[in-house]
């Protein structure tokens, strides 16, 4: 059972769930985009493409940001747009260098909000040591966009000896997580219309390039890196299991989670494993190197609560298995549809 689904040919329209980072997103990417654009650089389907230019390897990636609300505790759409692309580059082991920024702005959008967003982008970029070197602006009619959409693309240099890909997980490897999950997802949900609840929780939105540099200083035996954004930890681990053709085993009680996040999830009937994160990474590391890498992560401000949460095995192929607190096991599947609170 749990066969991977075939193309949803019966659907004639794009649904919101196509963008949720779950099974339907995955299917849209593989059955439409990859099929149309197929080439050896795209095919690995990692967070960024790896280009070989002038004898060096470069990581190249792009992402668009459409968050509501635009300003949230711990960040804003601008910070998110910079961190997201920096993190995507970092997940191929690259040192992020240059970014582009494209703005699609709805007619009537507040100029002071735009100024605040731009200032936040510059602050984040310079703190992370990257430059925004090109850009574009479009203004659309009122109703043609929801306030502001931002696209960023970036390139970064991949150091010699680094070979990181979602396809590199090997049985015996350890699974490391850089900190608590679900912080961003719950911080955003707490502000959504109709769902406002008070929390002091902040989004974990952060650039992870320095953390990755330090991890790679300790060991080059880091096989996979991925940031569990949309679709959460669950989708990220499933993607890695599929790309590498391995089974990933995770211990539920080792996954760091803040009490506030756990509480909000209990109340709303949400699974923290599928909530978005914007400043966390999953690393799959050779067994011998795992402990050293973990210690280095824990010494970094963005990895203080890092933990080894599981390991890679041969079986079950392309699946993630969660051992619950009761010591029993179950399959941890990808997200399906929009993650929404349920009736009761």
């Amino acid at each position: 059972m749990n066969q991977r689904s075939t193309v949803s040919s019966s659907l004639e329209k794009i649904l919101l769930a196509h963008g949720s980072g779950g099974e339907l997103s995955h299917e849209l990417v593989t059955s439409l985009f990859v099929k149309a654009f197929r080439n050896p650089i795209l095919d690995p389907l990692d967070d960024g493409a790896v280009l070989r230019i002038g004898g060096k390897r470069w990581a190249f990636t792009t992402d668009s940001y459409v968050v509501t609300p635009i300003f949230f505790p711990g960040g804003d759409i601008g910070k998110l747009a910079i961190c997201g692309t920096i993190n995507d580059l970092s997940m191929s082991g690259a040192k992020p260098l240059y970014l582009s920024a494209g703005f699609i702005i709805e007619e009537g959008f507040s100029l002071s909000d735009l100024q605040a967003i731009v200032a936040s982008m510059q602050e984040t970029a310079s703190a992370a040591g990257v430059k925004i070197v090109t850009g574009d602006t479009k203004v659309v009619n009122r109703g043609g966009a929801d306030g502001i959409f931002i696209n960023t693309a970036g390139i970064g240099a991949i150091p010699e000896g680094v070979n990181i890909s979602g396809r590199n997980a090997r049985p015996g490897d350890r699974v490391l997580l850089s900190g608590t999950i679900g912080d961003h997802g719950v911080a955003i949900l707490s502000l959504r219309e109709g769902l406002q609840f008070f929390t002091t929780l902040e989004s974990d939105c952060a650039p992870l390039n320095q953390l990755v540099v330090e991890m790679l200083e300790v060991s080059k035996d880091i096989h996979c890196l991925r940031d569990p954004t949309r679709g959460g930890l669950s989708s990220t681990l499933n993607e890695l299991a599929r790309q590498s053709g391995v089974g990933i085993w995770v211990e539920e009680n080792r996954i760091p989670i803040k009490e506030q996040v756990q509480g909000a999830c209990e109340l709303l009937g949400l699974d923290p494993l599928i909530l978005a994160n914007e400043g966390k990474l999953v690393a799959i590391v050779a067994e011998e190197a795992a402990e050293m890498v973990l210690q280095r992560m824990q010494a970094h401000p963005f990895g203080r609560e890092a933990a080894i949460i599981g390991e890679v095995r041969e079986e079950p192929i392309e699946k993630v298995v969660l051992r619950t607190r009761l010591g029993l096991t179950r399959i941890m599947d990808m997200v399906v549809g929009e993650p929404l609170p349920r009736i009761c």
Binding site: L11, K13, G269, L326, V336, E338, R342
Partner: protein, 360 residues
């Protein structure tokens, strides 16, 4: 997390499981009525921990799943009313009606909004007085009091653009109907905790009195469920079936009188169409005459096309505990959570979705 972790503690579970294994020598078929139990059982992998003698069967307790295609078609028609917006709980969005889903209607430009409480619908109606806001009332006794209170509040505020479509259902008589169908052989029920927090334990007394069946009202954490199973095993051993409350921190024998009163002010019992069980007298909740104006089924003249049942979908039998999800030929093949054919694969609480997501 305090008050949660204790109920998920493997150390505390062990002695309960050992006692169950020691006592459960004879086959015992137990139905968990509530969808939240179904999910909890699957999510924590409880089936693998229980002895082979104990079979857990999912029942008709997922509100989305038991909603009939006819009611779903009406919801779609309501979304097509000009100048109207439908407000619904999220898990209704992707349930396939005869020819569409609310998610597809939204993709096609209809105004369908996800809300987290019926009061959100009321607020929308106040904010956009030029629009008709129709709240889809789906759920059991757990949800109905909040909808009833919202309806009474809408009337008090004199709102003319707020409507509710009531597809609510009530549990006890449905269990009776299920037993009377005769196809499902059971020894006892794991009874729903939240429904019972409202209605109490008395409405289930017929289970023991008329059918000789055991019943335990259970909480939703894994230890709650294991303890309930143990209580059912002991009832069976003692030969004295009755209704017991395991979920004492949530349920009193009399239920919640205030919630029942509010429900009674807004609703009266009506017949309801259940997927799998058919029409059952007295298991629906219709608005009382005083609230007729906000009753969407009376306020709008709907052209609802003839209802089509999906070929091959066996959700009805799954809901009655006649087959396990894997017993349906469509399961995990034509019917997946991405491309659901029946509601049991859509809802988070659906038996098929739980079996697909967590394995069984």
């Amino acid at each position: 997390m305090k008050f949660i972790d204790e109920y998920r503690d493997g150390e505390k579970a062990r002695p309960i499981l050992e006692e169950i294994h020691r006592l459960a020598k004879e086959p015992l078929r137990l139905m968990e009525v509530c969808g939240t139990h179904t999910v909890s059982i699957a999510r924590y992998g409880l089936r693998q921990a229980l002895p082979e003698t104990i079979e857990l069967i999912s029942g008709p307790g997922c509100p989305v799943c038991v909603t009939s295609n006819r009611d779903l078609d009406k919801a779609i028609s309501l979304a097509r009313v000009p100048g109207a917006a439908v407000a619904t709980f999220g898990d209704m969005m992707r349930v396939p009606a005869s020819e569409s889903t609310l998610a597809l209607e939204r993709a096609n430009g209809r105004d369908v909004r996800v809300v987290y409480s019926p009061l959100d619908g009321l607020k929308m109606a106040e904010q956009v007085p030029q629009m008709k806001i129709i709240f889809l009332g789906v759920g059991f006794e757990t949800t109905a009091p909040a909808v009833a209170a919202t309806a009474l509040e809408a009337r008090n505020r004199g709102l003319k653009n707020f409507f509710i479509f009531s597809a609510h259902k009530t549990v006890p008589k449905a269990l009776k109907a299920l037993l009377d169908l005769g196809g499902t052989k059971l020894d006892g029920f794991i009874l729903p905790g939240h429904v019972s927090a409202i209605i109490g334990s008395h409405p289930y007394e017929f289970l023991a009195a008329e059918y000789g069946l055991a019943g335990v009202i259970s909480g939703f954490e894994p230890l709650d469920i294991l303890q309930s199973v143990l209580m059912l095993v002991r009832q069976r051993k003692s030969g004295r079936p009755r209704v017991e409350i395991q979920y004492k921190r949530g349920v009193k024998p009399v239920g919640n009188p205030r919630a029942l009163e509010v429900m009674g002010q807004a609703f009266e019992p009506a017949d309801a169409e259940w997927r799998g069980l058919g029409r059952i007298a007295g298991t629906g909740l219709a608005f009382r005459e005083e609230l007729a104006e906000l009753d969407a089924s009376r306020a709008f003249e709907l052209k609802v096309p003839a209802t089509k049942e999906t070929k091959g979908c066996r959700c009805g039998e799954v809901l009655c505990g006649l087959i396990r999800p894997e017993g349906c030929a469509l399961f995990a093949k034509a019917c997946t959570p991405d491309n659901p054919v029946g509601p049991c694969m859509v809802s988070f609480e659906g038996s098929c979705a739980a079996a697909y997501k967590y394995g069984s």
